[in-house]
Amino acid sequence: MGTAFYIAAAVAILSTIMVITRYNIMHALLYFIVSLLSVAVVFYLYGAPFMAALEVIIYAGAIMVLIIFFVMMLSLGSQTAGEERSWMTPGVWIGPSILCLVLLGELVFLILQPAGPAGEVRVVEPKEVGLSLFGPYILAVELAGMLLMAGIVGAYHLGRQKKKIVHRFLQTPES
């Protein structure tokens, strides 16, 4: 704890700021991967090594690769960077940013209020997590499986290319 946490937190905040200010979407996604990795370090420091591994494997691995391949499939990148720059004029982003920062200041103030004795960081073993996951929360695990199934079916249904129907007189003769 201490220095390691503050370094990881600073990296996370800086890379997230870089994510929300980039115009090129590939640069933003690569910075977001750095942000996820530093959050994984924070998880490890808070006594959740298994969750740190899951964060790297699923978030930084699977989900980000999915988004990056999607962007490459649409072949965006430098083409949309120009219009993204024209959309991000200061008049657009100053108002919401100030309002959100006011909310953040209020939240930090409320967290910093003196409370009970501060607990130390306790390591929660993956074994306890597994016992809890497949004991009292077995119904929620099954519901998560059904959610993933619905996600797969929905993604297949939405992502399918519709066959274009052209009248046979309008079709060009195949050579």
């Binding site: 905040i13 994510v19 929300i20 924070v42 978030y59 959100c100 390591v123 929620a140 939405l158």
Partner: protein, 101 residues
Amino acid sequence: MISPTTAGLILAGILFTLGLISMLIRRNIIFMLVSVEIMLNAAGLAFIVAASKWGQPEGQVMFMFILAMAAAEVSVGLALILQLYHQLKTLDSDEASRMRG
């Protein structure tokens, strides 16, 4: 010196706020999806911090559910963005607010 729990919650709050700002100021719909991911990640961080504060596994269980939900959400969201891009030929979310055909 602030306690580890306070520091972790403040970090989660900062990350969530950055995601919220990005969600509000962006018009590119892929950037909006990424900022939703930032906010989900910050919520998961808050759960992990709470789990280490109380020494209970429930927080990590909730983080695994957040992870599963994020995966499902990204796949469906990307499929919707693909449909939108084929319909409108742009990623501007303001184009989709007109609700024409």
